[in-house]
Amino acid sequence: MTNDPTTLPAHGDPVLRVENLVKDFPIQAGFFRRQVGLVQAVSGVSLEIHEHETLGVVGESGCGKTTLGRTILRLLDATSGSVTYKGESVTGASNSRMRELRRHMQIVFQDPFASLNPRMPVREIIAEPLRIHGESRAAASARANELIDAVGLLSDYGNRYPHEFSGGQRQRIGIARALALQPTLIILDEPVSALDVSVQAQVVNLLEDLQNEFKLSYMFIAHDLSVVRHISDRVAVMYLGKVVEVADRDSIYDRPSHPYTQSLLSAVPVADPHAERNRRRIVLEGDLPSPAAVPSGCRFRTRCPIATERCSVEEPEIRLMAEGHEVACHFPLSPGESLIEVAAARGR
């Protein structure tokens, strides 16, 4: 685990700073609900998001991306570590302070069918955050109409219920709701994963337009690497509850250092058929280990083609590879080095 958060000079003070964030889920069993184990969904994550920046967070299912997002917003209570919004502690905020902080940090969910209350007309759904924060019914309604318009829907349809909209339209409604309180930070929890590819592009473009219009900071959680590449300024790669590599987008995609990042990227299909034919996929062996029984040392070692003795004993600290490029690996790959070749050279 590390104490020095990612530093990127260009963007000024961070909007969000996450330090050593840990979220455990107890495993209970038996009649007395005895705690028999612990799943550490997020184990010591440190991140920063700057003003008007998009931080992409990628990783396999079950690596703790979603839990990370929800713990930052205190939809889940952190086990340890801290989250600060513009210098103010979120993890330590009182209930009344937290209510205030929620104005600034919002969330968009993955499943557009589960994220809207089926018994509420759309205008009410979007107006609700404003009503919670003391806006009058008329003012909230008027603002909801503006927002419906801002996300590219017709305000005439405010009286309709969520089931009357398509997935992409519903996602727009979810985005409008997140915008209602004029937040500075929005956590986008796989906002396009559930949508058709054609609709994905529309929603991603909408998100980018809104970001420019309202100077928003995004934490874009996804497993689709090409979407992340398109929208992110910086990218954090997570594996089993830990950040294994953070860098600006181009460094991650062009010079991935962590073996996991390389294998993850090798799975992205290329649009050019010639390049696609030559693409060498790194197929990892085995499955993601259970977060209830994490491997000793480096968590990735059980699937890493270049792991050594040292990896099973010593947990790699996250360290600076280059300006703004951090990696948690004992044997980071240098730019241009391919994991397949390195593994072959080591006789595996």
């Binding site: 209510r99 209350n117 089926p118 609700e128 919670i132 473009n205």
Partner: protein
């Protein structure tokens, strides 16, 4: 982006778009297509309204004794026959059915109130609140209901309201368990998380977000609880510990006539059939409601 808007406009122009349909309206439309439930619904409405209309039209009073006509079978003069005191059984049966319906309604009301309240608390707050409510439910489950009701009935039974209250004390647990489960499930739903992220407190989340989405299954359960309440009341009354004469209910009527099954079987069969029909219709109604409210888990075909 504007595509969606255009699409909707086009649909409107082509007459494909329809006025916003609320959830209630959609449910009704689905319910109407459920034939068995619709039949049950119609029978139920006819049956229950007849319970109130027939005694008004009847030339006989409920407690009007007429010894000349004592213990008759079915006839034009007395379609359901008469009892040994010569009271017209049609009037009396309707009166008794009124009481059974009244008890079912009171039980449904009380057990929904208690069950929803406790179930919501247990499901939303979990932890020790849940443990406490669960223990109460378990207690009622493990103790043989009928025996307890019989014992308590000896002390408190008799009046219609007392019987209703006793039955409700047992019936609320099924509703509480359903509400508890729904709350457990719904409090993790994304739309509830979104409300929390917007700063909504427990009151708003429970009443605006979770309860409206939990009412469907609860409604289904209410119909089933009403049916069960009618049966339980009849059982108690049959055993002489529910509604006692001169008040009457379907169970009391059957109890009074059980010695006459060889002489005038209609005396047992008529209130018995009405009882069965009522409960059957309530159950079909419940089935139809469940399918209409939750098309995903539909069991019967339309």
């Amino acid at each position: 982006m504007p595509n969606t808007a255009i699409d909707l406009h086009q649909l409107e122009a082509e007459g494909l778009s329809i006025k916003p349909k609320s959830f209630g309206r959609q449910t009704w439309e689905r319910f109407r297509r459920h034939r068995l439930a619709m039949i049950a619904f119609v029978i139920l409405v006819l049956l229950i309204s007849s319970f109130w209309i027939v005694p008004i039209l009847s030339p006989y009073g409920v407690r009007e004794i007429n010894i000349q006509d004592a213990a008759q079978g079915v006839s034009w003069k007395h379609p359901f026959g008469t009892d040994p005191l010569g009271r017209d059984l049609m009037t009396r049966t309707m009166e008794g059915a009124q009481v059974s319906i009244y008890i079912a309604a009171v039980v449904a009301l009380i057990s929904t109130a208690i069950g929803t309240f406790l179930g919501a608390l247990a499901g939303y707050f979990g932890k020790w609140v849940d443990a406490l409510v669960n223990q109460m439910i378990n207690l009622i489950l493990v103790v043989p209901a009928l025996v307890v009701l019989l014992v308590v009935g000896i002390k408190f039974g008799g009046s219609v309201n007392q019987v209703a209250f006793l039955v409700a004390l047992i019936s609320w647990i099924t509703i509480a368990r359903i509400v508890r489960g729904l709350f457990f499930q719904l409090k993790e739903a994304d739309f509830v998380q979104a409300a929390r992220a917007a700063g909504a407190g427990p009151g708003r989340i429970i009443f605006r977000h979770i309860l409206p989405n939990a009412m469907g299954p609860v409604l289904v359960q209410i119909t089933l609880v009403s049916g069960a309440a009618i049966i339980l009341e009849s059982t108690l009354s049959f055993l002489g510990l529910g509604v006692t004469p001169p008040d009457t209910s379907l169970g009391t009527l059957i109890a009074e006539s059980k010695g006459f099954i060889d002489v005038t079987p209609s005396r047992v069969l008529i209130p018995g059939s009405i009882l069965t029909l009522l409960v059957l219709c309530l159950n079909f109604l419940g089935d139809g409601l469940r399918d209409a409210l939750d098309p995903a888990t539909r069991k019967t075909r339309q």
